[in-house]
Amino acid sequence: VKALFWVVVCSSLLSGCLSVGYRRAAALEEPAPEAVSRLVEGEAELGQCLAELGAPLYVWPLGDEGRDGAAIVYGWSLRKRWAFDVSLPITRDTSASFQWAGARSGLQGLVLFFDPQWKLLRTERGSLANLLPGEEDLYF
């Protein structure tokens, strides 16, 4: 009880200069692995992929405005992030502050590549930051 009392008192006194945050953010859903396993590269067609996996997050043209085919992108994420912020007044005109935040984790993704006849060429899985450099934040 005594410890709780001091935690409450100290927290009240520090609330203007100290903040600690935790954010847990889940976005979208990973396609079911068994559905992905039913898609055979070189055989599956776009219609089967859409029927198995649902609507993608994004459709990406390949080559010159999609003349080489297209990729369809499924993405999902679960971000858990702590952040810490402290700010202290030093004098009337100056203050010192320190901020820290855990590393951001981006979308995980599954990318299906198709030829111009909508035949599945290959699938790739991993961080969208690596699979689609420069486009990893396309959803947020």
């Binding site: 009880v1 709780l4 009392f5 409450v8 927290s11 009240s12 520090l14 609330s15 100290l18 903040s19 600690v20 945050g21 935790y22 954010r23 847990r24 953010a25 889940a26 976005a27 979208l28 859903e29 776009l46 219609g47 992929c49 859409l50 029927a51 996996l53 649902g54 609507a55 993608p56 997050l57 994004y58 459709v59 990406w60 043209p61 010159d64 405005e65 999609g66 003349r67 297209a70 369809i72 111009p116 909508w118």
Partner: protein, 126 residues
């Protein structure tokens, strides 16, 4: 006395609880999606029924339209210096693909926006 003190101490801890939700675009109507017929439905008919797409992708002479309704639910807890948040984002999405004559060739739909849920800060979503 001890119980009263604990109750008093707990009151300010609960003062910062909140729930919020936000949406992007209107929900997709399942009956509109069920009416899509590859080989027959045209891009103009899709736009008549579903309105302007959220995104259009040119694929050479072909094209694809995105319709999306996104829902986010957020639960938060503010404890003096500590802020705890849990967010869940889900969406209804429909991609429709057209050939060079703007006739529907394929479509794919995912309807999961309604499954967005509120959870405690450290809790997994359902």
């Amino acid at each position: 006395m001890r119980l009263a003190f604990l109750a008093l101490a707990a009151l300010p801890l609960l003062s910062g609880c909140f729930l919020s939700r936000s949406y992007t675009n209107d929900a997709l109507a399942p009956e509109a999606i069920a009416a899509l017929e590859p080989g027959r439905t045209t891009a103009a008919q899709v736009v008549d029924v579903l309105g302007a797409p959220a995104h259009v992708v040119e694929l050479g002479e072909r094209s694809a339209y995105l319709y999306e309704h996104r829902k986010m639910k957020r639960a938060g807890l503010l404890l003096f210096v500590i802020t705890l948040l849990n967010e869940d984002v889900r969406s209804d999405r429909l991609w429709v693909f057209f050939d060079r004559n703007d006739r529907l060739t394929h479509f794919g739909a995912t309807l999961s926006a309604e499954r967005a849920s509120y959870s405690l800060p450290f809790q997994d979503r359902e």
